[in-house]
């Protein structure tokens, strides 16, 4: 080993950038990263959880040529990836893949670079392992082709011993799986879309208001009735069709009509669902024991909430109901004094709001009806070119929801909405390619 290891055992990760024009979808790449980390988590007592934002311990990027770390890539072949050791003061946890390689998965040996095999190797470096002269080691510096099914792959004895020298061993019972938390679908389900839908009774994303919106592991989820739409970290809709909430988050009642609010708890990355007088706590896709519980646990009214979100700026959770808002201290486990109040830090905010969302940079979005407002992260004031259409900016709807002449004025500022060239332009990812023959 490089002699240095993470002092923590709970390690966050994220894929920060993806290659352009890759034959693998972003979702496939993320799933492969998840499984590559799981390989190490099976051998050592390490816990990996995927996060959004900018503060992941292990940050995966696809970069090309000179990219500012003193180790430029060289196009296809040659140097394909590198990662920095935990003891590197500036670059620890950075994992770089050459975006000019032809990254593949389940492709023949001589057809591109198997992303899973390379990722397992690079994560080994991220955890403190150096290159191994052993011909069978995953830490051998030379690319040796695919290593087989990520679901079945296990470290060889030498690699297992090497990682255990740094972190100790994980004693797993036969039915246990290591903890590598994520919201990714199972690998075997990847080529298919998200949960199958019944006929055409799902809501139309281009004409619906939303019940709730949240950001989980850096991805954005819009909820409407019993369904949700999912957007990747780059704000790409993963499917034009919504998926069933109860089909994805196992443990919510199958007859659930709607959710009022959802947020990811920053202290432990649990996901909280609020619907009427009840709330549920999820660890990834599975409900925790003992839920649902009444929302009065939080000191909230028994009628529930309109919206909730966690603000990274102050690490507090804000709840909204009928024009009032509460501020909850997650670390202390109680509401802050002086709440509820009508005066939010972000003002003026539409009332009552459908839900509120925080972006990666601390900016805040308020959603009401089919429109949303963006609040600047510094001034906390609504930006001038809002409200804008939720459907158009977030849910990949191309039609103009309002003719320019009849554009509504803002209930807060009186200004007519103007086109905003800075707004995201969502693209839909409709297919997943596994090899050139099936792409």
């Amino acid at each position: 080993s490089a002699g240095l290891a993470w002092t923590k055992r709970n390690i966050s990760w994220r894929v920060k950038t993806y290659p352009r024009g890759a034959r693998l979808s972003r979702e496939t790449m993320r799933v492969l990263m998840y499984y590559a980390l799981r390989v190490w988590g099976e051998a050592a007592p390490l816990t990996f959880h995927e996060v959004g934002g900018h503060s992941a311990d292990i940050s995966v990027e696809f970069l090309r040529q000179e990219h500012g770390d003193g180790s430029p890539f060289d196009g296809p072949g040659g140097m394909v990836a590198h990662a920095f050791f935990p003891g590197d003061p500036q670059r620890a946890g950075n994992v770089h893949f050459d975006s000019e390689e032809d990254w593949t998965f389940r492709a023949p040996d001589d057809d591109g670079m198997d992303l899973f095999a390379v990722a397992v190797h690079e994560f080994g470096h991220s955890l403190g392992l150096t290159h191994s002269p052993s011909k069978r080691s995953i830490m051998r510096p030379y690319y040796q082709g695919p290593v087989g099914d990520p679901l079945q792959y296990q470290l060889l004895a030498d690699d297992r011993l090497d990682i255990q020298r740094l972190y100790g061993s994980r004693a797993l019972h036969s039915t246990e799986r290591p903890e590598v938390s994520t919201l990714l679908p199972a690998l075997s389900a990847l080529p298919r879309d998200f949960p199958a839908l019944r006929s055409a009774d799902h809501p139309d994303r281009c004409s619906s208001s939303i019940d709730a919106v949240t950001q989980i592991r850096g991805e954005t989820f819009f909820f409407k009735g019993p369904y949700f739409w999912r957007l990747t970290q780059g704000r790409h809709l993963t499917s034009l069709r919504p998926a069933l909430i109860a089909g994805f988050w196992r443990g919510l009642p199958s007859h659930l009509d709607k959710v009022d609010a959802v947020y990811e708890r920053p202290t432990d990355y649990r996901i909280l669902f609020f619907s009427g007088p009840l709330y549920w706590v999820f660890k990834d896709n599975s409900v925790e024991e003992g839920y649902p519980r009444p929302v009065t646990d939080f000191g909230l009214p028994r009628t529930g909430v309109d919206g909730a979100f966690s603000w990274p700026h102050d690490q507090k959770t804000y709840f909204f109901k009928d024009g009032l808002h509460w501020r909850y201290d997650e670390a202390a486990g109680h509401m802050d004094k002086g709440f509820p109040t009508h005066d939010t830090p972000w003002g003026p905010m539409p009332s009552p709001v459908d839900d509120v969302l925080s972006g990666n940079n601390g900016e805040v979005y308020a959603f009401k009806g089919r429109q949303y407002w963006k609040f600047d992260q510094h001034s906390l004031k609504p930006e001038g070119s809002y409200p804008r259409s939720i459907a158009k900016d977030w849910l990949d709807c191309t039609e103009e929801p309002y003719p320019p002449s009849s554009a509504p004025t803002s209930p807060m500022t009186g200004a007519r909405p103007q086109p905003d060239v800075r707004a995201p332009l969502p693209e839909a990812e409709h297919c997943v390619c596994y090899s050139t023959s099936t792409c």
């Binding site: 490089a2 002699g3 180790s71 890539f73 072949g77 040659g78 140097m79 394909v80 990836a81 590198h82 990662a83 390689e101 670079m113 390379v118 190797h121 690079e122 470096h125 150096t130 290159h131 002269p133 011909k135 510096p141 030379y142 690319y143």
Partner: protein, 99 residues
């Protein structure tokens, strides 16, 4: 001092890139000695588990053309921590007066 042949420049770069040879001194521009290169090739062949010939043979050439991780195989050695005894001796030497 004999220097590597021009056509081996790529090999020398490769050996330096992956830690088998120390980087050239940017001040003196001192080239790697051929003995050092040969020794580095032997180390590299040993690490890779191929025949240790000390020359750029076909197997070695194939190896350096393989896709690989860009981290070095041989990490620069860090200054070893002094043992207590060594530390005391150094302190004693420092404290001795000059003649």
């Amino acid at each position: 001092v004999p220097t590597p042949a021009d056509e081996s420049g790529e090999l020398v770069d490769w050996l330096m890139q992956y830690g088998y040879l120390p980087p050239t001194d940017p001040v003196t521009g001192q080239l790697q000695t051929w003995e050092a290169v040969t020794s580095a090739i032997l180390t590299m062949q040993q690490f890779a588990g191929i025949a240790e010939t000390g020359i750029l043979d076909d197997a070695t050439l194939a190896l350096i053309q393989m896709p690989r991780c860009s981290l070095p195989d041989i990490l620069p050695s860090r200054p070893a921590k002094l043992s207590t005894g060594q530390h005391e001796k150094r302190q004693q030497r420092k404290s001795r007066g000059r003649r």
